[in-house]
């Protein structure tokens, strides 16, 4: 939340028209900055000369809160960072603490975790697709996407009693056993998704306006992605087949057969295609996990009072938006000494300026959409 460095050549009250440059304040209340992001644009006509992001409007001090809560008590708070993919956040945090505790998680719990995180990935991508299309001016996909997302949220609601900020996992495994029709619901959702993805393709993929609006917009090459630390679909759309689920498998992802979709163009259209295919791959994983769902306990050997030995661990998972890392430092007490979250949205957003320079105002909107940020996670 800092003042911008993009001061215009002359800011003289009403005389800004004399200069060729225009400083446009986009946000924090703007229809397409996805929350309370404020982007200060320096424009020449409609061409973007530079951007400056002002963030922090949603800063709630999650990392500070962690220091004042016990390990279990902090778990619900991580759901409120990337609230679109709360399950992934919870998984990352639980895994980090489990790493500190060095506990074994039962097979069944792992499997259910995989199913729920993949469902959440689909839900997160659906929300991204809807809002991204809305930013580009297609107003129908958002409703269709919410229709499908609703099915995921229903599964979450039936499983753990909450739809958005689920708090589905607990340190050491799961709190809730699956409900009766869990497997059936998951498979039914996969069937539904495969049918509906076709509808999205009909609406958008072939559409010439959509293709024109997205092709060549917001290019971030593989080199730039690495330099800016950009991960997730953005990196994969640049041709790097890097996915933590494959690179450093966790939760038993090595057992499932799936592909990492990649594209070479590194532009908005390619990211769109990558995410669309990721949804299909997630459905594939869900089907396999449901088929292989073992029986057994759902919680590992974890004491009621969690008190990890002094030490530190960095655990990262492939969240829908990229690498989500938790760096947890324990001093041997009941409360974590420090929890550092490595949020994918925050790091990816830093590349906005690089992607925007030289494009048009309308592209800025498309690029913010394609980065797929959640301000709850950017600001924490």
């Amino acid at each position: 939340m800092a003042a911008t460095t993009l001061e215009p050549a002359s800011v003289d009250g009403d005389t800004f028209l004399d200069s060729n440059e225009l400083v446009l304040n986009m946000g924090p209340q703007h229809p397409s900055t996805h929350g309370v992001l404020r982007v200060i644009l320096k424009l020449d006509g409609e061409t973007v000369l530079g951007t400056d992001c002002v963030i922090g409007y949603l800063h709630r001090g999650v990392e500070k809160i962690a220091e004042d809560r016990t390990y279990q008590q902090f778990a619900p708070y991580v759901d409120r960072m990337d609230y679109v993919a709360a399950v992934s956040n919870g998984l990352g945090y639980c895994m980090a603490v489990e790493k500190l505790l060095d506990v074994e998680i039962p097979e069944r719990a792992q499997c259910v975790r995989v199913i729920l995180t993949e469902l959440n990935r689909v839900a997160s991508h659906l929300l991204w697709l809807g809002t991204h299309a809305l930013d580009i001016g297609a107003i129908t996909p958002v409703f269709l996407c919410f229709r499908e997302r609703e099915e995921v949220l229903k599964i979450f609601e039936k499983y753990c009693g909450a739809r958005l900020t689920t708090h589905a996992f607990r340190i050491g495994g799961l709190q809730y056993e699956t409900y009766d029709t869990f497997e059936k619901d998951c498979v039914a959702f996969c069937d539904l998704m495969e049918e509906k993805v076709k509808e999205y393709h009909d609406l958008l993929t072939g559409n010439r306006i959509w293709v024109k609006r997205t092709t060549g917009v917001g290019i971030l090459t593989a080199e730039d992605c690495k330099a800016y630390g950009v991960t997730g679909p953005l990196l994969r759309a640049a041709g790097v087949a890097w996915d933590l689920r494959k690179a450093q498998p966790y939760c038993g992802y090595e057992k499932y057969d799936f592909e990492i979709p990649t594209r070479e163009g590194a532009d908005t259209f390619d990211r769109y295609i990558v995410r669309m295919r990721e949804m299909e791959q997630s459905c594939r994983i869900i089907r396999q996990a449901v088929d292989a769902l073992p029986s057994g306990p759902i919680k590992g050997k974890v004491a009621k009072v969690i008190k990890p030995p002094p030490g530190e661990a960095y655990v990262s998972i492939e969240a829908p938006k990229g690498e989500l890392g938790y760096y947890v430092v324990s001093d041997g007490s009941l409360k974590p000494y420090r929890v550092r979250v490595r949020p994918p949205s925050f790091v990816n957003l830093a590349a906005l300026d690089k992607m925007c320079r030289g494009s048009l105002v309308a592209d800025v909107v498309a690029i913010i959409g394609t980065i797929d940020i959640v301000l709850g996670e950017v600001d924490r």
Binding site: S32, I139, V361, A362
Partner: protein, 393 residues
């Protein structure tokens, strides 16, 4: 009194007053139709609360807009800010003067009717440009700049498409165009062995752009410029802009219907045996279905007032349907029916686009306009001219 009634301008004046009084309500219902159709396209219900199925929503909206606080930005150019919605609304409503609603319902049949409509829609852009500029907001300014460029670019293909149709009809009078289509026995869109389809499609595209409708709604692109030129407007001033936008849609659609789709003519105007099924049975059946639909909805309404309203609506539709069975009444209103029916189809088309397509980007909009629409429309004009010359002599 008798002298007054004998005044030749009296019907025109009455029509003008009726249009000015009724159109805001009609615009309100077009908005409702837009919301309902968009809701249908988007698997939603749409407005459902004010009246049964939201039929009273336009009245509620109008009431709300009227009593809303009127905000004029502190550093705005007050007079121009005040003036621009008026300019927009005035020009849009003026164009109604030459619309041939039927062979007997129109304000004036001037021999330059089409030119008048094009002129009015051009001046309408001025209201948008001034409104955006005077608000002294950067978003509004960009919106009005976009509007200016867009209007200039898209008026050219619109003009060419219109000229092609005029050439085909041989007159600039709106009524004359329809009469010419009646004589030739074919709608403008299918004239010249179907070659007129090209200007028809171009007219629809350019007309969408001319009225700032999606996918060409850049001046008010919500996701980029918040609301574009009317970002700073609120309350009734904003409503005037809204009214102007919908008036422009009606005007452009009417122009399209007149030039290309036979105006108030029924389909196949020269096929005599279609007279009964199309002119009597079709409208009667249409209104009967609507009326019965409303009556079917009566028991589902929980509130008594809503039940009465639905009942009244249903009976009203049935009565209108019955009207078409009376030969004298049928003769009087069938032209109006066909005109409004075609207009409704056009407006539906406009809404349908909006519900489906993403928005163009500014430079792509210009590309499409200058590199595709203008050459195509010029080509259409030339080819149609040659065909006409060769065939008609």
């Amino acid at each position: 009194m008798e002298q007054l009634l004998a005044n030749p301008y009296l019907p025109s004046i009455v029509m003008t007053v009726v249009i000015i009084l009724v159109f805001p309500l009609v615009a309100g219902y077009i908005v409702l139709a837009e919301r309902k159709v968009l809701a249908d396209l988007q698997v939603r219900l749409g407005p459902m609360r004010v009246g049964p199925y939201g039929v009273l929503q336009p009245l509620a909206d109008a009431l709300k807009l009227m009593i809303k606080e009127d905000i004029i930005p502190a550093k705005s150019d007050r007079w121009i800010f005040w003036l621009s919605p008026v300019v927009s609304t005035f020009t849009a409503l003026s164009a109604f003067a030459v619309l041939p609603l039927s062979d007997r319902f129109f304000v004036a049949d001037v021999n330059i009717g089409i030119l008048f409509i094009l002129a009015m829609s051009s001046i309408g852009a001025l209201g948008i440009i001034l409104g955006g500029w005077s608000a002294n907001s950067k978003y509004s300014l960009m919106g009005s700049l976009r509007a200016a460029a867009q209007m200039v670019s898209y008026e050219v293909p619109l003009g060419f498409a219109t000229v092609t149709a005029i050439m085909c009809a041989g007159t600039l009078s709106m009524q004359g165009v329809i009469h010419s289509q009646l004589e030739r026995g074919v709608w403008g869109a299918f004239d010249n062995y179907g070659l007129m389809l090209v200007p028809t499609v171009l007219f629809i595209i350019a007309g969408t752009a001319e009225t700032n409708r999606a996918p060409f709604d850049l001046p008010e692109a919500e996701s980029e410029l918040v609301a574009g030129f009317h970002t700073e407007y609120s309350g009734f001033r904003w409503a005037l802009f809204f009214l102007a936008e919908y008036a422009a849609i009606v005007v452009i659609s009417s122009l399209g219907v007149t030039l290309f789709f036979g105006g108030w003519l029924r389909p196949f105007p020269n096929v005599a045996w279609l007279e009964m099924p199309l002119n009597t049975a079709f409208p009667a059946a249409l209104f009967a279905v609507m009326g019965l639909g409303c009556l079917k909805g009566v028991p589902r309404q929980v509130i008594n007032g809503f039940r009465l309203l639905m009942l009244a609506l249903g009976l009203g539709f049935l009565a209108v349907g019955g009207l078409f069975l009376l030969p004298a009444a049928n003769e009087a209103v069938i032209g109006l029916f066909w005109f409004l029916f075609k207009l409704a189809v056009m407006v539906y088309l406009f809404i349908w686009y909006r519900g489906t397509f993403p928005r163009f980007r500014y430079d792509q909009l210009m590309d499409v306009g200058w590199k595709w629409l203008i050459p195509l429309s010029m080509g259409g004009l030339i080819v149609n001219g040659i065909v006409q010359l060769l065939v008609r002599g």
